[in-house]
Amino acid sequence: MTVDETIRQVLAEHGRLAVPVDSLGDDTDLFGAGMTSHASVNVMLALEDAFDFEFSEKMLKKSTFESIGAIRTGVLEMTGG
């Protein structure tokens, strides 16, 4: 799976979104799409498991998880990809 496919799969399983993941664009606001702050914690945990890394303290903020694009940037930054 590509990075994007993995992110979308994690969001589908843990994001508790009000819309199908397939309908999300790269910049769609995930919180606007119904992801709660609780769900974002689960998304984060699942991402860390899927990509085998830990987000740094400074990345633990809402903006890191606000869109698929933002998540990809964070994941690539932390995994050196």
Partner: protein
């Protein structure tokens, strides 16, 4: 509005001392009646309005007092000592004011802030909703905005002192199509505000807050919707402010209980000079705990002040965990301290007709853990701790 409605304004530096004076002169003498009748503390709120104290947190350039949160906190401790219901009303009001000050950026809301300072409006809050199970971060009701006007109807299980407030800040879904978590907060006020009371408020404590349920229907200018998402306003302002100012009120209750306990022990000591009163050691113990409480509130105020308006810092997990910990600690400590003080004063505190009676203190204190239930707050912290880094 006529010029005669314009109130003199107490400025920063004098806010805490004026609140303390009103606590002693007005709130204290009325407290038993407010409690017995479960009525709104009209005389106290009127006294605060007469000195411009409802706009203490409004910046001076908007006609307010320009006071710091720390100063308002000290004023609330003083008020909480005399009448916890009055103090809780004032705390809840200031939390709403702070949301407008920090997040009400558009012209409509900035003009309202000036009006609030000028006429000393009292703000209430409608964040909970029937059907959401107490989760204030989700809404069922939704805003409908057409032609620059909003419309909302909300079944609110609690709107404290709504009948005596001049406006209510209401959370709702952004649009009818928005998910439950995509919330905004909107200022609802007359003439577009209609409140239909549901039920009565006959509770163990905080009886003067008049926290009845309402069906709220409101219309107004779409400019009265705060621009930022409620999720951000809640994280950065409403939640930390609530925990800081509620804790100040509870510290007031605990402080008065410790004062009474100390006076009780001193009166025992006077009766038999040279003999240590039996409860003196327990007084020393409770004074240690009380000091922890004082220092915790002060350090939390300092932490919030240091974060300023830095969105990343205010929305960091460590900051959120810390503010939740403050609420859980202070709501637990207030009960512990009042109970210890009852052991010190003995039956004199259990009776309702002595100068050492702690009945109202105990009843009010028991509400602290329930208003936003500590179990819910601990569940939030448990969730956040799954991802907190130890740096």
């Amino acid at each position: 509005m006529t010029a005669s409605n314009v109130k003199p304004m107490t400025r920063a530096g004098e806010v805490a001392s004026r609140m303390a004076a009103i606590a002693d002169e007005v709130a204290g003498p009325a407290a038993d009646d407010v409690d017995a009748a479960a009525r709104f503390p009209t005389e106290t709120i009127d006294a605060l309005k007469a000195e411009g104290l409802l706009a203490a947190l409004v910046p001076i350039e908007f006609g307010g007092g320009g006071a710091s949160l720390e100063e308002v906190s000290r004023g609330l401790v003083a008020l909480g000592r005399r009448c916890a219901s009055s103090a809780m009303v004032v705390a809840m009001h200031h939390i709403q004011v702070a949301c407008l000050v920090r997040h009400g950026r558009n012209e409509v809301l900035q003009a309202y802030l000036q009006e609030l300072a000028e006429h000393q409006y009292l703000l209430a809050s409608a964040t909970t909703e029937v059907g959401t199970g107490g989760d204030v971060r989700s809404s069922i009701c939704a805003l409908e905005v057409t032609d620059g006007r909003f419309r909302v109807e909300k079944q609110a299980p609690v709107i404290s002192y709504a009948d005596d407030a001049d406006a209510v800040l209401v959370t709702a879904r952004r649009t009818a199509d928005s998910p439950e978590s995509d919330q905004v907060i909107v200022l609802c006020r007359p003439p577009g505000l209609e409140l239909e009371q549901v039920g009565e408020w006959n509770a163990l404590g905080f009886r003067g807050t008049c926290s009845t349920g309402f069906i709220l229907r409101a219309t107004g200018d779409a400019g009265e919707v705060l621009d930022e998402p409620y999720a951000d306003i809640s994280t950065r302002t409403m939640l930390p402010m609530a925990h800081l100012l509620w804790s100040s009120v509870w510290l007031g209750i605990a402080s008065d209980a410790v004062d009474l306990a100390r006076r009780f022990v001193q009166s025992e000591a006077r009766r038999k000079p040279g003999t240590m009163p039996p409860a003196a050691l327990r007084l020393a113990d409770v004074t240690v705990v009380h000091q922890q409480f004082v220092d915790m509130v002060q350090s939390s105020l300092a932490r919030y002040a240091a974060a300023g308006t830095d969105a990343d810092r205010l929305s960091s997990i460590g900051f959120g965990v810390g503010m939740n910990a403050l609420k859980v600690s202070s709501s637990t400590l207030v009960v512990d301290i009042v109970r210890e003080c009852m052991l010190i004063c003995g039956l004199a505190s259990y009776r309702l007709d002595t100068p050492y009676s702690l009945g109202r203190h105990l009843r009010d204190a028991m509400g602290a853990a329930l208003m936003v239930n500590n179990d819910r707050i601990m569940a939030n912290n448990a969730q956040m701790l799954l991802v907190l880094r130890g740096e």
